[in-house]
């Protein structure tokens, strides 16, 4: 499985360095952070490095266009970024036009793969689900008329929609039967916890059923012949890769590692810059640089043994190096669990989770108790998700 960069604020040279280092192979760009001219330059820079480049039109955020505290950044400068009246979406009449504007924009930027727009699904049995299915139904046909590049339909949904269980699965019985399916899907799993920047805290995404649902989407869509790209996905990437994902995108801020629709509303109050962290594959966790030094002295096996480890040995590295280290680790981690044998990969990753839990337990015994419990809880959620997914996917 490939790792892509999820663009956010302040990319500086992270994307080009990530591509040059070979720790990412593509990027999902955000028109929220770039106006058209800058976007065009950025695409050219990345394409010159043989990157797979896509742009998420983020039309699901257009629901906040008239919101008093909207935080849409540059999105409002893009011509396509507007939604017709809801009644026109419900009837379906306006949908092809909306898709066409977004795809024409991407075509005019020279992108060779497109992400089609869609609405955000709050609940499995909502009218938005029907509208979203209409968008997906129309996606490929509109793409053909726009020049027929490979097109990913957006599937952005809240964790509440996934928690609907059977109702959530019903969506995919319908989705896999569309007459003219898109080439792939760009999946965003929406947290309700968007303002929680505490990296170590369990987010509501880290719920066994939510993770299982995300795995189920990847599995069902990939066995149906679709390519699957997951946005804002971080440590769940190996699970999604095991279930058939082609790529996962992740970025340098928590909002780029975990999607939340509420990020398009301005936060009240300030925050402090997040701490620089090291992604430890053996621990399946992002740990502070100081902890990395201390943990490694106790248990050397918590280090990945990869190229960027050395930078963490003495001092806290830059934000750019942190992003590169994360992508490097993720890429290495996912390569072990995306062989195409779903059952075998899940078994192997379950064993990896168990080993990570044991390492955390040993760290706790050695007196490093502060972050142990939330991490073990998070890992147990991943482990339990595998069981739920197996049940839903009718696998062994």
């Amino acid at each position: 499985m490939r790792i892509f960069a999820q663009q956010g604020y302040g990319p500086k040279d992270k994307l080009t360095r990530g591509l040059a280092d070979g720790v990412i192979t593509g990027a999902v760009l955000s028109p929220r952070y770039d106006k058209r001219d800058r976007m065009q330059e950025r695409i050219a820079e990345l394409v010159a490095l043989d990157a797979q480049v896509l742009m998420d039109p983020e039309l699901y955020a257009a629901r906040y266009l008239s919101h008093a505290t909207s935080n849409l950044g540059n999105l409002e400068t893009w011509d396509y970024f507007q939604l017709p009246r809801r009644s026109a979406l419900i009837s379906g009449a306006a949908i092809p036009g909306v898709i066409q504007e977004a795809l024409d924009t991407q075509a005019s930027l020279g992108l060779q793969q497109w992400i089609a727009p869609n609405v955000y699904i709050e609940a499995a049995d909502s009218i938005e689900t029907a509208i979203a299915l209409n968008f997906i139904n129309a996606t490929k046909q509109v793409a053909v008329s726009c020049g027929d590049k490979p097109v990913f339909a957006t599937l952005a949904l809240s964790r509440e929609a996934v928690m609907a269980g059977s109702g959530f699965q019903d969506i995919f019985d319908a989705l896999t039967a569309v007459d003219l399916p898109p080439d792939g899907y760009y999946i965003l799993m929406g947290s309700e916890d968007g303002r929680n920047n505490g990296v170590q805290q369990r987010s509501d995404i880290n719920h066994p059923q939510v993770i299982a649902g995300w795995m189920y989407m990847n599995y069902v869509l990939s066995i149906s012949g679709a390519r699957v790209l997951n946005g804002c996905c971080h440590l769940l990437s190996p699970l999604l890769g095991a279930c058939g994902a082609e790529a996962s995108a992740s970025g340098w801020f928590s909002g780029l590692r975990k999607f939340s629709i509420s990020r398009y509303i301005r936060e009240t109050g300030g925050g402090r810059p997040p701490t620089i962290r090291y992604l430890s594959n053996p621990l399946l966790a992002r740990i502070r640089q100081a902890d990395y030094i201390a943990f490694k002295a106790e248990l050397p096996q918590i280090a990945n043994g990869l190229g960027h480890d050395a930078v963490y040995a003495s001092e806290e590295p830059s934000r750019t190096v942190e992003a590169l280290q994360s992508w490097e680790a993720l890429s290495d981690l996912c390569s072990d669990y995306s062989s195409g044998n779903v059952d075998g990969d899940l078994n192997a990753f379950a064993a990896h989770i168990q080993q990570a839990i044991q390492l955390w337990t040993r760290l706790q015994a050695a007196g490093f108790g502060q972050e142990v419990e939330p991490n073990i809880e998070r890992l147990e959620a991943m482990r339990d998700a595998i069981g739920i997914f197996r049940e839903w996917a009718e696998i062994a």
Binding site: Q169, D173, A177, P181, V220, S224
Partner: protein, 296 residues
């Protein structure tokens, strides 16, 4: 409801046949006869049409005539070597021995239905199972391409003809469903053959879920039953609600566990066809064909 079955003499007289036909079976609202024609042997189907009378009787009569006519129309439009073809006798309403029947001809196929394979020793070979499955997939492709869902694929409806070019032929389109159109069944009720009914068709909103994947399920289950020698969900005797529950909930053993002599990849294809969730089956017929190509 048992129908009045016309005698062979009555059929011969009503149709003006030079020779007496042979009664070969009765099922549902149909009696079936074999007769020789200048084009070869044909199966004559006489569909019972209730008399006119009250409102209900008239409605049933109209429905049965319409259903038979649509089945005939569908057979005429779905060209597949794996589906029985229409014969030389065009559909026409006849009065036979005081009752009305819609009578029409289909080709007569030699051989026996695959029901006879279930539980036999030795069990069907891989080559036989593969040929049956490929025939059914070919038929499903044709039907779905014409907008139909068969809804009644099962061993009893598949003839083992012994013909080299058409070894396995499906006989009946009697409960087929026209997608985006009028259904062929009487009243549009749920399908009547429970044992091979896909789980989604047992739900109240079954019409929303109906597509070729229902037939894919039945085709996979047909091959599974032939291979295993028994039905994975049925117990005899039991109430049909118990069977329906198992169809909806119980996962069958992987086929390879029952037939270790079969290629695991082939077993995996059959297992996937009979997944409970439609989304877990093949989303397109060409994906099944690609998978089969890899096995072969």
């Amino acid at each position: 409801m048992p129908i009045p079955v016309p005698s062979v003499e009555g059929v011969q007289a009503a149709l003006g046949l030079p020779e007496q036909p042979e009664h070969i079976g009765t099922g549902g609202f149909k009696a079936v006869y074999r007769m020789d024609t200048p084009y070869g042997p044909e199966a004559i189907k006489a569909v019972y049409v209730p008399p006119t009378g009250g409102e209900d009787e008239d409605a049933l009569r109209d429905q049965l005539i319409a259903r038979a006519e649509r089945e005939i129309d569908a057979l005429g439009r779905c060209e597949s070597p794996c589906l029985v073809k229409l014969g030389s006798l065009p559909p026409q309403l006849y009065s036979i021995e005081g009752h009305d029947y819609l009578v029409y001809g289909e080709e007569f196929l030699p051989g026996e239905s695959l029901d006879g394979w279930i539980g036999r020793d030795p069990k069907p070979s891989y080559d036989q199972l593969l040929a049956v499955f490929r025939s059914l997939i070919d038929l499903i492709r044709t039907l779905s391409g014409s907008g139909f869902v068969h809804r009644d694929i099962k061993p009893a409806n598949v003839m083992d003809t012994g013909l080299k070019e058409r070894p396995y032929v499906v006989l009946d389109l009697g409960i087929a469903f026209k997608m985006h159109g009028t259904e062929l069944t009487q009243g549009g009720g749920p399908p009547r053959t429970l044992l091979y009914t896909a789980p989604e068709l047992l739900k109240p909103n079954y019409k929303d879920a109906m597509d070729f994947r229902c037939d894919l399920y039945a085709a996979g289950l047909t091959v599974y039953v032939l291979a295993a020698g028994h039905h994975p969900f049925a117990q005899d005797p039991e109430h049909e609600y118990a069977t329906a529950y198992r169809i909806m909930v119980q996962r069958p053993p992987a086929l390879v566990e029952l037939r270790s002599d079969l290629p695991p990849a082939f077993c995996a294809i059959i297992d996937r066809c009979i997944r409970k969730r439609q989304a877990l089956r093949y989303a397109r017929i060409d994906l099944v064909e690609d998978a089969l190509q890899e096995v072969m």
